[in-house]
């Protein structure tokens, strides 16, 4: 009886009695979700254009952040570090395309997925080899003070992150819809062989896509690095981004954002109001359970491509 009350009555009662707190949690959740979306974006880009589920995305985020902070620590000014880190990610994309994607062209998805796992190990070891395993504090001047607006606490940092993510998504959307390269990317995402047959150079497209994903990873790495300090655990953010991907669909950029918002809010609200009924710390699996429920109604995510199966 107690348990039932705790699950069905108490949370709603709590929400009703303290609407400001609910608002606080919701806003906090939305902003946290945006941070997840930043990482999910990288996944979506690569999956959309090369059909590869990039297991190494989390490691790429870490690697980009490590490069950025390593340069900063050696005295390079912020914008210089950003440019150089971008260049490094582009080089990485070129290397990946040449050494990994090209030999594995047209293999099954699971093989490519496996190859990205190998890539993750490689980047992991390489990153720690070059930049060490210490934690690197990262401060690029993003204000961190808490803002209190009408009794509701909002974190300034998260607002800035939301703005960054928003502009990134807008830029990517423009890129995909209104440029020739973007159209070529979408063609490649649809069907590699058809795209090749109309003359789209697969190799350059892949390099471009992985570079863009690398830059998105760099931005995500900078934001998360400012939040946590640049350290190994950043690569674990990828696990938080997975439910976002399922919810939003693997192939949709707006899906990544909306999925992120839903997961963020869902997670936080569940943790705060339903958590105590279960003993707390339910965030982890709740996000996945939420995604699972969505999947039961829309098996390809909210905005994912419906794959039509033929016999």
């Amino acid at each position: 009886m107690d348990a039932l009350a705790a699950i069905f009555l108490t949370p709603l009662a709590n929400m009703w009695s303290n609407p400001e707190f609910l608002l606080e949690v919701v806003i906090g959740g939305l902003l946290a979700g945006v941070m997840y979306s930043l990482v999910a974006l990288g996944f979506v880009l690569i999956y959309k254009a090369s059909g590869v589920f990039n297991f190494a995305q989390g490691t790429m985020v870490l690697f980009a952040a490590l490069t950025f902070v390593g340069l900063l620590e050696r005295g390079v000014p912020i914008w210089g570090a950003f440019v150089i880190a971008t260049a490094v990610m582009v080089l990485l994309a070129v290397a990946i395309e040449r050494l990994m994607l090209r030999p594995l062209v047209n293999q099954e998805q699971i093989i490519l997925f496996m190859a990205t796992i190998g890539l993750a190990f490689l980047l992991d070891g390489f990153g720690q080899l070059v930049w060490g395993s210490d934690v690197h504090p990262l401060d690029i001047g993003i204000p961190k003070a808490p803002l209190i607006i009408g009794g509701v606490l909002i974190n300034e940092f998260d607002l800035v992150a939301a703005a960054v993510a928003g502009s990134l998504v807008a830029a990517l959307a423009l890129f995909f819809q209104h440029t020739a390269v973007g159209r070529a990317l979408r063609a490649v995402a649809d069907d590699h062989q058809a795209a090749q047959s109309v003359g789209i150079p697969l190799r350059s497209i892949w390099v471009i896509v992985w570079s863009v994903a690398g830059v998105v990873g760099l931005v995500a790495g900078i934001m998360w690095g400012s939040k946590l300090g640049v350290q190994f655990s950043i690569s674990l953010v990828a696990l938080k981004a997975l439910p976002v991907l399922i919810l939003g669909g693997f192939t949709s950029v707006p899906g990544a954002i909306i999925g992120g918002l839903i997961v963020g809010v869902g997670e936080k609200v569940a943790e705060v109001f339903w958590g105590p009924a279960f003993g707390g710390a339910i965030e982890d699996w709740f996000a996945y359970a939420l995604a699972l429920v969505f999947l039961l109604f829309r098996p390809h995510g909210l905005f994912g491509e419906r794959i039509i199966e033929r016999v």
Binding site: L104, D124, G125, Q128, L129, S133, L296, G301
Partner: protein, 359 residues
Amino acid sequence: MLYREVGQFKVSYAADQAIFPIVQDRWLMLAALAAAYLVIPAVGSEYWLLTIMIPFLVYALAALGLNLLTGYAGQVSLGTGGFMAVGAFATYKLTTLFPGLNIILVLLLAGVIAALVGTLFGFPSLRIKGFYLAVATLAAQFFLIWMFNKFPWFYNYSASGVISAPPRAVFGQVYVTGAEADPRAKYLFVLTVVVLLALAAKGLVRGRVGRAWMAIRDMDVAAEIIGIRPLRTKLLAFALSSFYCGIAGAMWAFIYTSAVEASAFEIERSFQILFMIIIGGLGSILGSFLGAAFIVLLPIFLDNAPRLAGFEIPVNLVTNLQSMVFGALIVFFLIVEPNGLARLWAIGKEKLRLWPFPH
């Protein structure tokens, strides 16, 4: 020349349907089993038995379980760690609640419990496919680990949440768990369990069940049309796979590390086992073993190789290099043979049939 079927005539259907129709294969298998049962315990040091052979066998069993589900039935699952945890904790609760029960019986019961849990979490597979299913099984993974961490009943209210294997004998005074257990007894016990279960798996995949799984994997719409029931087949795959993974988890907790907390079966474990079957070969019993060997033995070898070759390299450098070599090897293997080590093995056997002739 050596590896030919020339002169081997089958006079019964049974002989024709044997697992190893070629006599040389059978001899090889017997030799390998003899080596495993007789040679290894005799010459293997404690280090070899406890930290190399036993984990290899336990991982191979878990990989076998996952291969049944993902390789044969085509349902990508990332919940392996969670099902292993179910096996481990079920064994713990059963053996502490019923200390008189023989460990073999306890393992089987734990496997059954894991199978039931696996079936429960297999229901989404009826609606969701491919990578989406994989991420959905992650819900199972995270939930199960959270559950074993959260509810003290599972770990008998100890302050830390770690379950510790009480000493249990398989018969008489032959202990296989606990500090008094002889490493050789432990090894032989694990070996026997794995061999028997692998045999059972081989039988499964060669029979109707296995063929139904493969039909679902290859083209599930067509399979449904010819009369294979997707609900039953998929759920059976989840159940049997979780049975194997549960027993593997129980042996992991009780025989390999003898004290385990829920976080030993986290998402990294699931990924590790998935890597094993992909490297070893999806849809292949041998592949599970090869993949397990690759993932278990190679890092140990890479970690110790510089020392053995005489170089004194700082440990963090070794670990990072090992990570890089490991990753590079995975990519290399995939480029060379995307179907895994089992396929390489099969190609080797094909070539051996002709050797030393060119064609």
